[in-house]
């Protein structure tokens, strides 16, 4: 039994071992930081995938929850010296709560209209932060952003001299969120998400509380995204409205799973492993001369994927499924035509 699993999952096991050993193979801090960023995007993609891939609610503003989480934990750290680990969880809860408040009206919208509302919410939060130097009596310093105060290097303060601990923190977070996605996909909740993704009216007629399940889903996604926000703040020691609350990052975390394979466990990770290095390469090749080249490349790749492999890269390895999906597309065209 165990041997069988090992044989079946050889690639996965070898991959995991490689991931664990990576910082000791490539010792340069630059590379370790780059690896951390790749996995960070994979993690954010996984969080997005729970809402967008499993339940089909396409958000183009999901990084707003990362921003809220990062500001929450950093402000807590500045004012009360509470460990970022606890700040992380509190930030997650705040983000989750906000996602429910926002979801109550916006989940009445369907498809593209919902997506537009997510962009609007992201923009509104960014403008609020940019326009105010203080919020709720706390100093947020507008566009200047917040510096995470330097403390002793320790696990409790989530500050380290070396980059290696950051690598392992995000690696563990990504493994956990992948396991959660796997569990969700095979649970009642996951099947209900899939039903909502496929057809809301049919789902409702089968006893599924569509709005309720959407809210649960967005709470999970926002909570986990906020944890990623705190991580990013601790990694870069800085929170500002233009990065985590910007449109580019929100689009990037959606592109990872779309390219890799929406609704699959490994899709966002595959997407990040392919796309994020491209960003680094584009940056070194074109430098500051042409900014945002990587976004152009992402756009091209996304178009190719959407046309030739709508199930994402992961689906190319599952031949039978991808061919059946094509039949689905065809029959739907016939039906509608």
């Amino acid at each position: 039994m165990i041997m069988k699993i090992i044989r079946k999952q050889t690639l996965l096991i070898l991959g995991s071992l490689l991931l664990i050993a990576l910082p000791y193979i490539f010792k340069s801090p630059y590379l370790v930081q780059t690896f951390s960023i790749i996995i960070f995007y994979a993690y954010m993609g996984c969080c997005w995938n729970i809402l967008g891939g499993l339940a089909g609610q396409i958000s183009m503003g999901n990084s707003v929850y990362a921003g809220i989480g990062a500001y929450a934990s950093t402000l807590l750290f500045i004012y009360t010296e509470i460990s970022p680990w606890i700040g992380m969880l509190l930030g997650g809860l705040i983000s989750g709560m906000i996602s429910i408040l926002i979801g109550l009206p916006t989940f009445r919208l369907r498809g593209t209209y919902y997506t537009l509302s997510t962009i609007a919410f992201l923009t509104v939060v960014r403008i609020i932060i940019l326009a105010n130097r203080t919020l709720f009596g706390l100093e947020t310093r507008g566009a200047q952003g917040l510096l995470v105060p330097m403390r002793e290097s320790s696990l409790g303060t989530m500050q380290f001299m070396s980059k290696i601990p950051f690598y392992y923190i995000i690696l563990i977070m990504t493994i956990l969120v992948s396991l959660l996605t796997y569990y969700l996909k095979h649970s009642k909740t996951g099947y209900y998400f899939a039903a909502i993704k496929a057809n809301q009216d049919a789902a409702a007629s089968l006893g599924i509380n569509v709005t309720g399940y959407k809210l649960i889903c967005s709470f999970i996604s926002a909570f986990l995204t906020a944890l990623g926000g705190t991580y990013y703040a601790q990694l870069t020691m800085y929170v500002d409205p233009s990065t985590l609350l910007g449109n580019p990052i929100s689009q990037q975390i959606a592109i990872m799973p779309i390219v890799g394979g929406m609704g699959t466990v490994l899709g966002p990770i595959v997407g990040a492993v392919i796309l994020v290095p491209l960003q680094e390469i584009a940056r070194t090749m074109f430098g500051d001369a042409v900014q945002g080249t990587h976004l152009v490349i992402y756009g091209l790749i996304m178009m190719i994927i959407v046309v030739y492999a709508p199930g994402g890269i992961v689906s190319l390895f599952k031949k039978s499924i991808s061919s059946s999906k094509r039949v689905v597309a065809k029959t739907e065209v016939i039906q509608n035509g």
């Binding site: 095979h186 649970s187 009642k188 099947y191 209900y192 899939a194 039903a195 496929a198 057809n199 009216d201 049919a202 789902a203 409702a204 007629s205 089968l206 006893g207 599924i208 509380n209 569509v210 059946s324 999906k325 039949v327 689905v328 029959t331 739907e332 039906q335």
Partner: protein, 249 residues
């Protein structure tokens, strides 16, 4: 059947869209174990009436009473939980999922346990003759199978009353004979009450214990299939003279 129990009761149900009255003051009763056919010309308000009963629309006026409870204006998922299932005229299968998974989602309405839901779904698939297609992806199937999924999925929610919206539309005679047989079998096995919208008159007349006719949102006749076929108003608004001539022979 001395005193059959009323499972579903509509009392003066009206649904207006702006100035248009799609359903106007419709009252009817569905008895336990009965098959009740709902016929009428296109645009008569049949599907709108279904949508009102199943909670997709709030009635402008009137009440829908199911098993003695007022369900008018309750959301669809709550109505389904209470035991009223429906199918859609335009089939809505969960295209990326397998037939079994489609039906399992219905079965999860009554259980938290995936294993129980799977068993229940397999049972339903046997009744609906989809068993050999259980692992096929729903989106790949032909229209007959997708209509069957629609019924199977609704059945899996374990309804007392099932609303079937034109399950025969688009099927050829032998296919619809197959579905008729399935429905008759189903009735025998489960004792379910059915309210069905249908255009194929031979099917309605064969399946239904009673028939009612809707025209311009109003109920113009109800009674036994044979009585309805003789009704002047029904012939004029819907059946046409030829059908009358046919039944006369």
């Amino acid at each position: 059947m001395a005193n059959p129990k009323v499972v579903l009761k509509l009392r003066g149900v009206t649904k207006n869209f702006g100035g248009v009255s799609a359903v106007n003051n419709v009252s009817l009763e569905l008895f336990e174990g009965e098959v009740f056919g709902l016929i009428g010309p296109n645009g008569a308000g049949k599907t709108t009436l279904f949508n009102v009963i199943a909670g997709f629309y709030k009635p402008t006026q009137g009440k829908v009473i199911f098993n003695g409870r007022d369900i008018s204006g309750k959301p669809p998922y709550k109505i389904c939980k209470l035991g009223l299932g429906r199918t859609f005229q335009i089939v809505k299968p969960f295209g990326d999922l397998t037939v079994l998974e489609n039906v399992m989602i219905g079965a999860l309405n009554r259980t938290q346990n995936m294993k129980v839901a799977r068993e229940k779904a397999n049972e339903i698939l046997d009744i609906t003759r989809l068993a050999d297609k259980r692992d096929k992806v729903a989106g790949c199937l032909n229209i007959v199978d997708r209509k069957q999924i629609e019924i199977a999925r609704a059945l899996a929610t374990k309804p007392d009353v099932l609303l079937l919206d034109e399950v025969m539309a688009g099927l050829n005679p032998s296919e619809s004979a197959e579905v008729v047989e399935m429905i008759q079998h189903l009735r025998k096995v489960t004792g379910i009450s059915l309210l069905l919208i249908e255009h194929v008159m031979s099917v309605v007349m064969k399946l239904s214990d009673r028939v009612c006719v809707l025209d311009h949102g109003e109920l113009i006749a109800q009674g036994k299939p044979t009585e309805i076929a003789q009704d002047e108003r029904v012939i004029k608004s819907y059946l046409g003279d030829r059908y009358y001539a046919n039944t006369d022979k």
